[in-house]
Structures are given as C-alpha cells and as structure tokens.
C-alpha cells in the first residue's frame, strides 16, 4: 500500500459507534457460522444415521405400522434440507424437534446445557486464569529449573489423552476415598443422588462432586494455555517497549506489571477463542468419565441412538457456546487492546 504511517485521530463518538457496529457485525457473522456448522453436522448425521435400526431389529418384531408412524413423525420421508429447515424453523420458538424415542428435544436441552456449563465453566475459567499465571510465572523464570520442569510437565499433560487423565485421577484419588471410608471427592454425577441436603450442605455436596472433574478439565487446558502464555510473555519480555519502560525508570517488576502483562494477554484472547472448541471436545470425555449428563454425553448417546435432531441441537448449543466465548474473547481484546477500538 502506501509507504509511511499516518496518524488518524478518531473522534471518540465515531470510534465508539464503529466499535459497536464492529462487535455487532461480528455477532452476525458468528451466528451465520453457527448455522453453517449445525447444517453440516445435521446433514452428516441425517445422511448416515438410521434412527429406526434399533426398533427394526427387535424380537418379537416391532409392528410395521409403528415403524411407519415413527418414520413420519421424524420426517424421514423428507429430504435432508427440508428436514433441517423444518427443525430450524422451530428453534427460535424453542422447539428443537423430537428425539427418535419421541421426546421433545426442548424438554432436555436446557438441563443438558446447564449441566455442561456447570461442569465446564469453572474448569475453563480456572484453566485460563491458572494457565496464564503459570505461563507468566514460567516466562519470568525462563531457563531456570522450575520453568523447565513446569514446561515439561505441561508437555506430558498434553501428551496424555483427556480420558486417560480422568482415569488416572480416579486411580490416584480412590485410595484417599477408601482411606477416608467415604467419598470425600465423589467420582460420578454433580450431586449425591437422593440426598436431602439443602442450603450450604447441598452447595458443599455439589462442590465436592465438582473437584475432580474440574481438575480433569482444567489440567490439560492449563498446560495448553501456559505454554502459549509463556511464549507470548517471553516475546513481550524481549520487546523494545518494555526496555523503554525500564529506561524511563520503572523497575523490571513494575514495567512487566504495567506494560508487559497487558500486551502478553492480547494474543491469548484469540487463542482462547479458537481453542475453546477443542477443549469442549475434551469436556465430552470428562462428562462421560465423571458421569455428568451434559451436552457432550447427550451428543454421544444421540450418535449411539442415531438421533439426528439431538445431534443438531447439541451441536447448535455447543456452537453457540463456542461463538459466545469467541465473542467474549473479542470483547476482552477490545478491553485489553484499545487499538482494536478504531
């Protein structure tokens, strides 16, 4: 383009309007992304699934009339796209279609989403915070043993599949539970079934259930984020502006705090946004291993039951989650980096 830079002073209101328009535009784009992603999975699911296979292979055989009625109810007589559109047209009104066994998907969707959020949010938030902290801590100690060990540990954590990690956690914790003679930290579900606890006791019960899965969710993410955060922080530590900040009389610690941190966090927003889907996939394993009946578990059993509507619904919710996180990351970026406001 042109050589040389120029200064363009934006008047504040214009900037804010453009910022709002920009963020709104991103939302629209992301909604479109969601729909495209859901269409993709729905198409794949609808084309490859045979929702009546299970009923067809019973003994004594399921009456043909029942099979026909079920096929009609599921819209199997329609081509995939109209079926998708029919499903989609109900979504704004909260109608997510019916499962292959006749449930309204809407009956279950919010419970599933709630379970996933309760499981995944604490772990992820913790992971981002700790990952960032560990990464920065490592960068400030780059080359020392503590840093080397933590980076090696992160690499090892990332080399172990999530489901193995969950199992290993259980193996490590089981002796503790056994020694305690009770389930100090339970392995399954989000609360003790049938318990009559209320108030703080119930919250405590939920918290105890949350600990191990949260660790399982957070550990690999901490490893993941810390490695990137460390690299980002190292880059910042070698930057000219940090040197300049020290040159004007800031101590290293203060320069890092006031100037380095913010800059090092900026690339993390994009990282969190694009890797969230990946970690969400890890959450599916965690849900399964720790017996939380969230979206991932739902999607997996929907695949087992060849249920395209549930697959589409859970995909939609996960896509929405990914997109919301992406949007939050945009927001965080705008807060961290005023350059993006113009």
């Amino acid at each position: 383009m042109l050589d040389g830079e120029r200064h363009v002073a934006l008047s504040a209101p214009a900037g804010r309007a453009r910022l709002a328009a920009g963020l709104a535009g991103r939302v629209a784009g992301r909604v479109a992304l969601c729909l495209a992603a859901v269409l993709l999975t729905y198409t794949l699911a609808a084309l490859s699934f045979d929702p009546l296979a299970e009923l067809r292979s019973t003994q004594p055989p399921t009456p043909q009339a029942v099979l026909d009625a079920r096929a009609a109810e599921l819209g199997l007589d329609l081509p995939v796209l109209p079926r998708f559109l029919r499903w989609l047209s109900g979504v704004p009104a909260g109608d997510f279609g019916v499962t292959v066994d006749g449930h309204a998907v809407a009956d279950e969707v919010w419970e599933r989403a709630g379970t996933s959020l309760r499981l995944f949010l604490p772990g992820s938030v913790l992971a981002v915070l700790l990952g960032v902290a560990v990464g920065i801590w490592g960068a400030l100690r780059a080359g020392r043993w503590a840093d080397k060990i933590s980076m090696a540990a992160a690499l090892v954590l990332l080399a172990v599949p999530v489901f193995v990690l969950g199992t290993l956690l259980k193996i490590l914790w089981l002796p503790v539970n056994e020694a305690a003679g009770t389930d100090l930290l339970p392995f399954s579900g989000e609360k003790t079934p049938g318990s009559d606890l209320a108030g703080w006791a119930a919250a405590g019960d939920r918290l105890r259930h949350l600990v191990l899965p949260t660790v399982a969710i957070a550990l690999p993410q901490i490893a993941f984020y810390s490695r990137y955060q460390r690299a980002a922080m190292l880059e910042v530590l070698h930057s000219e502006f940090l040197r300049a900040a020290r040159a004007r009389g800031l101590t290293r610690a203060r320069a890092v705090r006031r100037h380095g941190l913010r800059m090092a966090l900026i690339p993390m927003t994009a990282l969190v946004a694009f890797s969230f889907g990946l970690h969400l996939a890890g959450g599916v394993f965690t849900e399964r291993i720790f017996g939380w009946h969230g979206l991932g578990d739902w999607m997996m059993s929907a695949i087992e039951h060849q249920d395209a509507m549930v697959v589409a619904t859970s995909t939609l919710l996960m896509a929405v989650l990914v997109v919301v996180v992406g949007w939050l990351a945009d927001l965080a970026l705008v807060l961290l980096d005023p350059r993006t406001r113009s």
């Binding site: 383009m1 042109l2 050589d3 040389g4 830079e5 120029r6 200064h7 363009v8 002073a9 934006l10 070698h238 930057s239 000219e240 502006f241 940090l242 040197r243 300049a244 900040a245 020290r246 040159a247 004007r248 009389g249 800031l250 101590t251 290293r252 610690a253 203060r254 006031r258 100037h259 913010r262 800059m263 900026i266 961290l336 980096d337 005023p338 350059r339 113009s342």
Partner: protein
C-alpha cells in the same frame, strides 16, 4: 569538570552456541557535562550494546565487565531497583524505533506521566498527567491535551519520537542516550527531531550520547565523535578536526560514502517510458479515499536516469508499482517503448517484462532465502524460457558483472553480506538484458559505507549497457551522484522536475528547497548554519486533502505571502510551469 559519564574498559559478551560472543571489547569513553558525543560505526560494532550497558538494560544472558561511572557513581553490578532510580532521572534514553519503544496499548500521555511519577512517587495522578501534557506541548505536539489520550499507533514516526524525547526530558537528566533516533525518519522530520534534541539539551543542560551511522547527523549535532569497530574504539576526537582528517579507514569509509558528488551527464536517447496523467487511488476503508498518485507526468529516455524523490508516503513507490504491473492504470497512460500497456495481450506483456526489470529496496526480503544465488539470478531467464546452456553462461557472466565471484553461485542469500545480496538483486534485474530498470530505494537498506559503492556499481552498469533508470529515493546526496534528472514528489504530484544539477543544487520549489536544506551535510559549519530552514509539520493525512496547493500548510513561502497571493494558493492547485530548464508546480516561484 568531572565527566558525566565515564566508561572504563567495558566488555560485553553474549552467550553464543560456540562460546561467548564479544560485542564490546575493552571500550573506554568519557562524556563531559553538556557535551554531545557521537558513537559511530558499522552495524554490529557494539554501539547499542554500549548504550544498553550504560542503562543496565542488557539481557540477563549478557556478561558485562569493566566500569561504568555516571557522575562518579559505579552503575555496573547494581540492583534493578537501584538502577531504576538512575534510569530516566540521571540518564534517559531515546530509542531507534519510536513505535517499538512505546507500549502500543497505553496512551502516550500516560506513558509520559509514568516517566514523571516513576521518580516522583508522591506526585498525584492528575499532577503527573498535567506535567505530561506540558512535556508533550514542549516537544511540539499540537493540542497536547487531547493528543495525550491517543495511542502510539495514532502518531506518526516523528511524533512518536517527540513523545520519546518528552519522556527523556521529563526529569532533567544529566545524560541523554539517543540510539539512532532518526534513522527511521524522513530527512525533513530528522531535521526537526535533531533540532528538538538540541533544544532539550539547551533547556536541561544534558549531555548527549548519540549513536548513529549517519555522519551528516554527527556533523550537525555533535561535538566529539568516537568510532567503533567490532566493539573496540578505533578513534575519538572533535568532530570538525576528525572530519577534516580522518585517522582511520573506518571513518574515512563512512565519510566518503557521504560526500556529495555531481552525477554523470549522458546523452538521452529515444523515450523508453512515458507516463501521462497517472492517478491511483486507494480506499483503505469505506468512505475514505487516498490519492496516492494524483496526476503524474514523467518520461524517461534510453540511457537516462531519473530519480523520484520525496518524503515517505508521497507516492513515489506507487508510481513504480503502476509501471511494473504493466496493466492499465486507473487513470492516465503508461507507455513503455512506445506501447501503451493498457492494450497489452498476455504474451506481449510477458515479452515486455523482459525489457523492464526492477531492483527492490531490501535485498534481504527480495531474495528468496531458500534459493541458491545462481537460481535467483537465473529465475527471470527461466520464466522467459531461455535455453538452459544460455542461462548457465549468462548467470556466470552476471555474477562477474556485479562483482561477485563464481563461488557465490551456490550460496544462499543468508550466507551473503548485505552488499553482496543487493549485487545479486541487481544481477537478477539485469539478467534478461532489460532496457529500463526500476530502482526502489536500492541502497537505503544498506549500511552507509556500502551505499555509495552499490550506487556507483549501478551507475557503471548503466553506462555500460545503455540502460535507463527510474529510481525512487529519498537520499538526496546519493541521488545527486547517480542521476541526470530528478522529479520531486509531494502528495502524489510532481512539484519540481529537471536536471539533477538544477533541482538539487539550486532548488526552486519551496518544498525542494526544504528537502535539500534538511539533508545533513558533512561540513560542520554548513550543517549548523542550515538549521533555520527546517520544514515544519509533517505530510498530512492523505485522505484529507487541503484545497488548492497541497503543500500550502507547510509551505515556508506561503507563510510570508500577502493575502492576495495566499488566496491563489488556497484556491487553485498549481500546474507545472516551465521555470528555466525545469518545471515547477508553484504559483509563486519566479523564473530565475
């Protein structure tokens, strides 16, 4: 008087793969109060490492020995906390890259305020901010109060450097270390910044340690000069005597590269390039239009060299790109060898490309680092389908032509020095025997001492093969020694065009005059005498064009005009007029 800075036997070594690499080797220097000392030398001679050693800002991996005394106090070996009390208060620093040295996400005012509050812990937030505004105002930032809230990237390079200087002067330091403070700037802005530095020194009484490779800057701003080579002091002394009689080859080399010499005079042949009414606009965003090139007429004749000069952003490079694209321009015509490029068919265009070649600014980027030199040189020949044996022979021939030896053929660009790389780029451009060579600042990425050498090589080749050159440059002395004709561009238009002797030695347009005046010269007396002619202001935002004459807001002539004369400037864009042998686009330049 005791020196403000005394460096004794300073050695700085970095950890390398095969043992330590010494950057500074037993250097001793002193800077007296109020004095300006220049530290000059090639890239890698240890200038910056010295500066960082003084500031205590070397990376942790560096090993430092010797002694650095600031006002008699030893700095080496002191803790970060202790040093932080010295940095910014007793010794301040202005960095080379004004963008990199400012935290991109913190408003400039806050950064300046920080320089204040770092050394006045008790000062309130508001007071520090007030002081920052005052400082910004003092370094010449207009409407400092509003601009203090702006982010670094919203500032131009010159403005950023002003901000850096504001920070440096915040605490009345005893010593300012300026590490190549102007090398990233245009000459006009460079002059402004150097003036500002002088100003700051006058106000604060600070000594200056100026790191540079530009001896013109040294002549203009410094009292003494110290020459470094490979981390060691080669010679040291007063600027005036040493420039008269350099004691070392290093300094002599640097000086010769800077000497202005008259260019060659060659008879002009048939026209190879004719540009008429060329316009090119960009839309960087919705609703904004940048008129990068706004009606340019040019012609270049066979064997002739024409230089396009002007500040960064004036549209010079865009003109080159429009030509080399060989496609119909947005507006106007480009004719090469009497053929209008807009009507070209694919095959014709390809054939024409052989005859028009280009040398780009930075050989480090313009040469594919993964290819061998021979392959790089041969590439245009391969593209144009030369037979293989001929390619081989031609490659050998070209290596020799540009002063490289056959063993360079198998090397990669990374294994060559900067000068050698640019020679490869030149060889590549000459490979298909072009008639016209476009040169985009062909030496500006090179060390000063190499520039003249490469420029002379180009001149020699031009003579030998009767080439036509269209060169983009902002280095006036080098241009002067390489071309016959010059066209000066300002905001997309040519404001003055003529022979190099006319235009550069006796500039007529006020812009050309300012440009020439801002160019540092080696003559110490002359350098200091020219300070008054510094052009004020900067290239305006290209999306917001002033009416009438685009140069009007910065024009020193306009400032002196009467109301009636001003009205002409304000209303009517000046058309190029014949003034003697040259063309000038100004309403108020009289024929000589």
């Amino acid at each position: 008087m005791s020196p403000v800075l005394e460096i004794r036997d300073l050695t700085v070594a970095f950890r390398g793969r095969s043992g330590p690499v010494t950057a500074v080797d037993g250097l001793s220097l002193t800077v007296s109060p109020g004095e300006a000392l220049a530290l000059v030398g090639e890239s890698g001679s240890g200038k910056s490492a010295t500066a960082l050693a003084v500031m205590g800002l070397l990376p942790e991996t560096a090993r430092v020995r010797g002694s650095v005394l600031l006002a008699g106090r030893e700095l080496l070996g002191r803790s970060d906390r202790e040093l932080s009390r010295v940095r910014g208060r007793q010794v301040a620093m202005v960095h080379q890259d004004p963008l990199g040295a400012l935290t991109p996400v913190v408003p400039v005012g806050a950064q300046v305020a920080e320089a204040v509050s770092a050394h006045h812990p008790g000062i309130g937030r508001r007071a520090a901010a007030e002081r920052a505004v005052a400082l910004l105002d003092a370094v010449g930032i207009a409407s400092a109060r509003t601009r203090a809230a702006a982010l670094p990237h919203e500032f131009s390079g010159g403005m950023r450097q002003r901000v850096a200087i504001a920070m440096a002067m915040a605490n009345d330091p005893d010593l300012i270390i300026a590490d190549e403070p102007t090398s990233a700037l245009d000459v006009t802005i460079q002059a402004q910044i150097l003036d500002l530095l002088d100003d700051v020194r006058a106000r604060t009484g600070a000594a200056l340690l100026l790191i540079t490779h530009d001896l013109g800057v040294v002549a203009r701003s410094c009292d003494r000069v110290a020459v470094l080579r490979k981390g060691s002091l080669v010679e040291e002394g007063g600027v005036a005597p040493l420039f008269q009689r350099p004691g070392s080859d290093d300094l002599r080399g640097l000086l010769s590269a800077r000497t202005t010499a008259a260019g060659p005079e060659r008879p002009a042949g048939e026209p190879v390039l004719r540009i008429t009414g060329l316009r090119r606009q960009f839309s960087p965003r919705r609703g904004a239009v940048v008129r990068a090139v706004d009606g340019v007429d040019l012609d270049v004749r066979a064997g002739q060299a024409l230089a396009l000069i002007g500040e960064s952003g004036c549209g010079k490079t865009t003109v080159l790109r429009e030509i080399v694209g060989l496609r119909a321009p947005q507006t106007g015509t480009v004719e090469l060898f009497d053929r209008d490029v807009s009507g070209l068919r694919r095959r014709e265009r390809t054939a024409l490309r052989e005859r028009v070649q280009m040398v780009m600014q930075d050989p480090t980027s313009s040469l594919n680092p993964t290819m061998a030199v021979a392959d790089i040189i041969a590439e245009p020949l391969r593209v144009h389908g030369w037979p293989r044996p001929e390619i081989r022979a031609r490659t050998r021939e070209l290596l020799e032509l540009v002063g490289l030896s056959p063993e360079h053929a198998e090397r990669r660009p990374g294994q060559l020095s900067g000068g050698q790389r640019q020679r490869v780029a030149i060889a590549r451009a000459l490979a298909p025997r072009p008639r016209l060579v476009l040169l985009d600042e062909p030496v500006s990425a090179l060390d000063t001492s190499l520039r003249a050498e490469i420029m002379d090589l180009l001149t020699g080749l031009r003579a030998r093969f009767d080439l036509a050159f269209l060169m983009v440059s902002h280095d006036i002395p080098l241009t002067r020694r390489a071309v016959e004709r010059v066209a000066v561009m300002y905001l997309g238009t040519i404001v003055e065009a003529g022979t190099a002797a006319d235009v550069l030695d006796h500039p007529a347009h006020p812009y050309t005059r300012a440009l020439v005046a801002a160019t540092p010269v080696l003559d110490v007396q002359a350098a200091r005498a020219r300070r008054a002619a510094v052009l004020s202001g900067e290239l305006p935002d290209p999306t917001g064009f002033p009416s009438g004459c685009a140069f009007r807001p910065r024009c020193p002539l306009y400032a002196e005009l009467s109301g009636v004369d001003r009205a002409v400037c304000a209303e009517e864009p000046p058309k190029p007029r014949q003034v003697g042998a040259r063309q000038v686009a100004c309403h108020h330049v009289d024929p000589p």
